[in-house]
C-alpha cells in the first residue's frame, strides 16, 4: 500500500493538521479521545472533507484541494469499519453483506461471492438473521465480511474492539489479526488501547490535539516512545520532569536523584519515563534508598507505591510493579533501575 495523507481540517476550535505516509501492513493511530484520530479516518474515507491538502492511495488521487478533486466515498475503494459496526438493522446478514458488493452487476457472481465469504467468515447458518440477533463478535465478522467482499484497497478500522466485553476482546484481537494477515489488506487502525496497538500494528503513529507527534515501528516505539504522550499511551506509569545533568545522565528534581541514562542525553530533554516493572531491589545501577507508601494487590501482580528518601514532599509516589511470584519476603529499602530502561522524553 501507499497511502499519502497531508490534510488540514478545522472543526470549531479543533484544528487537524496531519501529514504521513503509511507503510504497508497495519498502521496504528494511537491517541487519547479527541486527538483527531477518527476525523483523520473520516477524511480519508470521504465522509468529511478536509479544508485543504491531498490524499493519495496507491497513486490514485482521492482528494486534492488544489486540483479540486474530491472523490465521493463510493469511488474511493476504502472500507470503513465503524465502532458500532453500522450494520443495517432492517436487512438480514446475507443482504447486509451483499450491500458490499453493489459494484458487481452480475447476479450469479454476486451470489457466489457472498456465499463464499459467509463460509470463510464462519457465518454459515446465520444468513437469515438480523443484526440485533447476533453476538458482538458475530456482528463484527458480518461488518468485516461486508467490507472485505467488495475488495477495498485500504481498510480503516475505528476502535473496532472498544464496544466489546474484555474477555471477548482478547479473543477478537487474535481473530482480527489472523483475518488482516490472511486477507493481506493494508489497514489503518484507530485505537487508544496499547494492547490492541501492540498486537495488531506493524507501525504506529501517535496523535495529540490534531497533530502527529511521530511514527515508527511498533516494537521500536514501545522501546523508545520519545514523547510524554507516547510514553503515557504505551502505558508507562512513571513520567516525571527531568533535566540533562551530564553527557549520559539526567537529574529528576521531584525525586532528588541523578540517574545514569546509559545513552547520550539531548539538551532539550523535558522528562523521563520508567515503566513500573523495570524497578528491582537486586539491581545495582541507579540504586537509591526508598520508603514504601502503599501496597496494592492485583489479580496477578503487586503494585507498590514508593518515595525516594530524597523525594520532594507533595510529589507523586513512584510505581513499582512485580508478578506475585517475584515478590520478596521483605520489601527492599533500596530500588535500582537499569540505564537502558530509562526512557528519554523530549516533548
Amino acid at each position: 500500500m501507499s497511502l499519502e495523507v497531508c490534510i488540514k481540517k478545522r472543526l470549531g476550535k479543533f484544528l487537524l493538521d496531519v501529514e504521513f505516509h503509511a507503510e504497508p501492513g497495519v498502521m496504528g493511530l494511537l491517541g487519547a479521545s479527541g486527538s483527531g484520530k477518527t476525523v483523520t479516518l473520516m477524511c480519508i474515507a470521504g465522509i468529511l472533507r478536509p479544508d485543504e491538502g491531498r490524499i493519495l492511495l496507491n497513486g490514485r488521487v482521492l482528494f486534492d484541494s488544489e486540483k479540486r478533486i474530491d472523490l465521493p466515498p463510493q469511488q474511493r475503494r476504502v472500507g470503513y469499519l465503524f465502532q458500532n459496526y453500522a450494520l443495517f438493522p432492517n436487512m438480514t446478514v446475507e443482504r447486509n453483506i451483499a450491500c458490499g458488493l453493489c459494484r458487481e452487476k452480475d447476479r450469479a457472481a454476486r451470489k457466489k461471492a457472498v456465499a463464499d465469504i459467509i463460509s470463510r467468515m464462519r457465518l454459515t447458518g446465520l444468513e437469515k438473521h438480523r443484526p440485533h440477533q447476533l453476538s458482538g463478535g458475530q456482528q463484527q465478522r458480518v461488518a468485516l465480511a461486508r467490507i472485505l467482499v467488495g475488495q477495498p484497497e485500504l481498510l480503516l478500522l475505528d476502535e473496532p474492539l472498544s464496544a466489546l466485553d474484555s474477555h471477548l476482546k482478547d479473543q477478537l484481537v487474535v481473530e482480527l489479526r489472523h483475518l488482516l494477515k490472511s486477507y493481506g489488506r493494508d489497514a489503518l487502525l484507530v485505537t487508544h488501547s496499547r494492547d490492541e496497538a501492540y498486537r495488531l500494528c506493524n507501525t504506529l503513529a501517535v496523535m495529540e490535539e490534531g497533530r502527529l507527534l511521530g511514527m515508527g515501528g511498533t516494537r521500536e516505539f514501545f522501546a523508545d516512545p520519545g514523547t510524554r504522550t507516547g510514553a503515557a499511551l504505551t502505558g508507562c506509569k512513571n513520567i516525571v520532569d527531568a533535566k540533562k545533568a551530564g553527557e549520559m545522565s539526567v537529574y529528576v528534581p521531584d525525586w532528588g536523584v541523578t540517574l545514569d541514562a546509559g545513552k547520550p542525553v539531548g539538551d532539550h530533554l523535558v522528562a523521563i519515563g520508567i515503566r513500573a516493572h523495570h524497578f528491582g531491589g537486586a539491581i545495582g545501577e541507579n540504586s537509591f534508598p526508598i520508603r514504601v507508601v502503599e501496597e496494592i494487590e492485583e489479580p496477578f501482580e503487586w503494585t507498590v507505591k514508593f518515595m525516594y528518601e530524597t523525594q520532594q514532599d507533595g510529589s507523586m509516589p513512584v510505581w513499582w510493579r512485580m508478578p506475585k511470584a517475584a515478590r520478596p519476603e521483605r520489601l527492599p529499602d533500596r530500588l535500582g533501575v537499569s540505564p537502558e530502561n530509562i526512557l528519554l522524553l523530549y516533548q
Binding site: M42, A45, G46, I47, P72, P73, Q74, Q75, R76, V78, G79, Y80, F82, N84, A86, F88, P89, N90, T92, C99, G100, C102, R103, K128, H129, R130, Q133, R146, I147, G150
Partner: protein
Amino acid sequence: MDWFPLWNSLRIAAISGVLVFFTGILCAYYIARLPRVVKGILDVILTLPLVLPPTVCGWFLLMIFGLRHPVGQLLQQIGVRFVMTWYGGVLAASVVAFPLMYRTARGAFESFDETLAWSGKTLGLSNTFIFWRIRMPACRQGILAGAVLAFARALGEYGATSMLIGFTPGRTATISTTVYQLWRTGDDAGALVWVLVNLAISAAVLLAVNLLERKNRQGRRAV
C-alpha cells in the same frame, strides 16, 4: 342520498396526503442539512400553518390565489383555478396538513444513526439507495405516524377549505363542510349520517395503522 361529499373528501385527502408525504419528507431531509439560521427561518414558515387558525390560512390562500390577486389571475389565464373548485380543496388540505408530516419526519431523521449512511457510502451504495432502503426503513415509525396524522388532518380540514372553496353541493362539498351546512339548515338527522360516516373512516384508518404496526413487529421477531 348523495354520496358526493364522501367521494370528494376521500380524493382530496388521498391526493393531498400523497403530496404532503413526499414534499414533507424531502423538505425534512434537505432542510435538516442547511445552516442554522436558514433552517430556523424555514422551520418557522413551514410550521406556521400548524399553529395558525385554519381560517387565517384560508385568508392567506385567498390573498394569493384569489381571482382578484396577481397569482390567481395569472393561474386563471393558463386555466388553473383554486377558488371554488375541488382541487382548491387539495391545496387547502395540503397546506394545513404539511407541517404534521414535515415535523414528524424531521424528528425521525434527526434521530437516525448517521454512521449507517456513512458506511453505506463507503460500501459504494448510491445516495438514492441509502435514502430509500436504509434511512427510510430506519425512520419508518416516525414517518408512518406523520403520514397518518397528515392524512387524518387533510380528511377533517374545514376552516381553510370552507374559505377557499366554499360549499357547493355536488362540486366542492366535503364531509366536514356538509356536516356544518346540514346542521346550519336544521337537518340534524342528515348531519348525524355524515358524522357517523366520518367516525367510521377515522376508526378504519386508526385500525389499519395498528394492524400495520403489529404486522411489522411480528415480521421482525419471526426472522
